[in-house]
């Protein structure tokens, strides 16, 4: 695949970026910082477009609606704020004791799911509470949508619930601490990265499960490729690729990509390439057909946030101090 990633701009955020996402058009991106600020930037120039009201104590999470008309943020103040991309407020919830660390819009954009302590709440676009799902045994540590189903993870397992249907949640038990959760694009698989240095995989309909253990560190970085054929995961300095085509990963060995000199902190897909950022301060790009990654960016401080623009044409990342950069695919 032709083209190389080249740096377009860098800018200093108010503090460490706790969350970072492009809007679906790829033209705009937003960052939530531990200083409490929320920053909306022009992806092509890095110019500040808006600074919506933030979250005292620290902004921790953000989500764009798929149509790009709404930006939701949450933070240490326990509040959810939803605004327009220009910062005009749409609704906010009361503040609370539980940090808002995880949120996601449903694929149809009609529902916003939020993890608040041990409760998952679902709001519509005007802020009306559609579901208030308690019963989690510990703080919700990850959440995602699979079609109309909301999937939440906490210590002890994963819940699948349908907020707009009165059916009991389905529970997939897992005796461990889940740190990250990703569904395959076709909804067939669910993968979790865990504190104990393992991946856990569920075949959603059958409930069949398997574990891949042996990562030297906790597994927080994982992402499915757009076509669902490959899961990239890291828990240490190596990047592993698991083949999910056909019968799935059971019995297969992962492809291991070596090159980072420190723990990999985030991964993503840009088309057929894997992108990874690491404590070693580098962003690496790994072409699909090769074991050799190239260093796209090298900085002084550990990198730990990565967002890839839809279509894989650009990626934004930030270091520990909140210095953020954007690289874009130069096809010439």
């Amino acid at each position: 695949m032709p083209g190389r990633f080249v740096r377009v701009w860098s800018r200093q955020l108010a503090d460490h970026a706790a969350d970072l996402h492009f809007v679906s058009s790829g033209r705009v991106l937003a960052a939530a910082t531990l200083a409490g600020t929320v920053t909306v930037l022009d992806a092509s120039t890095g110019e500040l477009l808006a600074e919506p009201t933030g979250h005292p104590g620290g902004a921790l999470s953000l989500a764009w609606s798929p149509d790009g008309f709404l930006l939701a943020t949450g933070g240490q103040d326990g509040r959810v704020r939803v605004c327009r991309p220009g910062g005009e407020p749409v609704f906010e919830t009361p503040s609370g004791r539980d940090w808002i660390e995880h949120m996601a819009f449903s694929p149809d954009g009609l529902q916003l799911a939020v993890g608040a302590g041990r409760t998952a709440r679902v709001y519509d676009r005007s802020g009306q509470l559609l579901a208030d799902q308690g019963g989690h045994g510990s703080t919700i540590s990850a959440l995602c949508w699979m079609g109309r189903r909301l999937v939440t993870a906490c210590y002890g397992g994963v819940r699948l619930l349908e907020p707009d249907r009165p059916v009991a949640p389905r529970f997939l038990e897992y005796s461990g601490s889940i740190l990250a959760l990703v569904p395959s694009p076709d909804g067939k698989w669910l993968a979790s990265g865990n504190q104990d240095g393992s991946l856990h995989i569920w075949q959603v309909e059958s409930g069949a499960e398997c574990a891949m253990s042996g990562y030297p560190m906790k597994v927080k970085a994982l992402a499915f490729s757009d076509d669902g054929s490959t899961l990239v995961a890291a828990g240490g300095s190596e990047v592993t690729l698991w083949d999910f085509s056909g019968v799935g990963p059971v019995g297969r060995k992962p492809k291991v990509l070596e090159g980072h000199a420190g723990a990999v902190t985030a991964v993503g897909w840009a088309g057929h390439r894997v992108l990874s950022v690491s404590e070693d301060g580098t962003l690496r790009s790994w072409p699909a057909s090769s074991d050799r990654g190239e260093v796209v960016w090298e900085g002084q401080l550990p990198l730990d946030r990565l967002a890839v623009a839809p279509g894989g044409v650009a990626a934004a990342f930030a270091d520990r101090s909140g210095n953020m950069s954007l690289v874009s695919l130069d096809e010439r």
């Binding site: 503090d15 460490h16 531990l34 620290g58 940090w99 461990g176 504190q195 104990d196």
Partner: protein
Amino acid sequence: MSATTPDRVPVTILTGFLGSGKTTLLNRILSENHGKRIAVIENEFGEVGIDNDLVVSADEEIFEMNNGCICCTVRGDLIRILGTLMRRRDRFDHVLIETTGLADPAPVVQTFFVDDELKAQFELDAVVTVVDARHVALHLDQSSECQEQIAFADVILLNKADLVSAPELSALATRVSAMNRWARCHHTVRCELPLDDVLGIRAFDLGHAQEVDPSILSDTAHEHDTSVSSVGLDVPGDVHAGRLEKWIRKLLAERGADIFRMKGVLSVAGSDRQLVFQGVHMLFESSEGRPWGRAPRRSKIVLIGRGLDVAGIDKGFRRCLA
């Protein structure tokens, strides 16, 4: 991992039963003019929080690690909260973790041994246990949590000392020190004591492990089988590295659940430096200490545990002599 990162933030773990004066000590630390920015993670609703300090309320979430080690439990809430706080640019100078009255301190301590990120960013300073001198006798017999809080401590405050007679206080001090001989024990009223006695102890710093106290040597063989006690061994000469490692692994595999803490300074045959180590239940770490130079070579270990087989431990340790 970078366990030697120079600017790791010290963490003090504050334990004690409800009503012991734990919150009084917390408030005293926060209100003292020490110029430090302190982050407090509290598990009981208290009314603390002063100026530029940060107070986070959290529910204790005990996670069992899925690695087959039965006593390896950690505090998931601490990994989550401290994992975020440590990324802030205006970092804190000190972290205080207040446990609930009935908490076993082990998961809190183990969290900082097990989680790589926290290990790289934070340094356990000490476990500080506040004891209500008037009411503790009752709990000492009946509550395993109370025994564990004393067994885990590096600093013990026998608080409300004015509410008991001098002989009662002295008897209590004797009893507490039989359970845990390495902790520094202070008699206090309303937790009044210099903060230097509570903060900056560096009890988990292997570089300070030379201070393992040989006076801990004692005869505890007569104590009741299930009680908490300390064992100290001090033997002149060298130990054999391979045999020692084998013995400690076996001891921890068999009795790790009952051994709360362990520290040692060893003279290993063939090495001109001290070997210092510490353990919490089954978790264990060691490193090279200072050179022996002209100092007489000897090996000292201290264990605190429940129902310790003193004679067996003594025999096992002596078999490791070179």
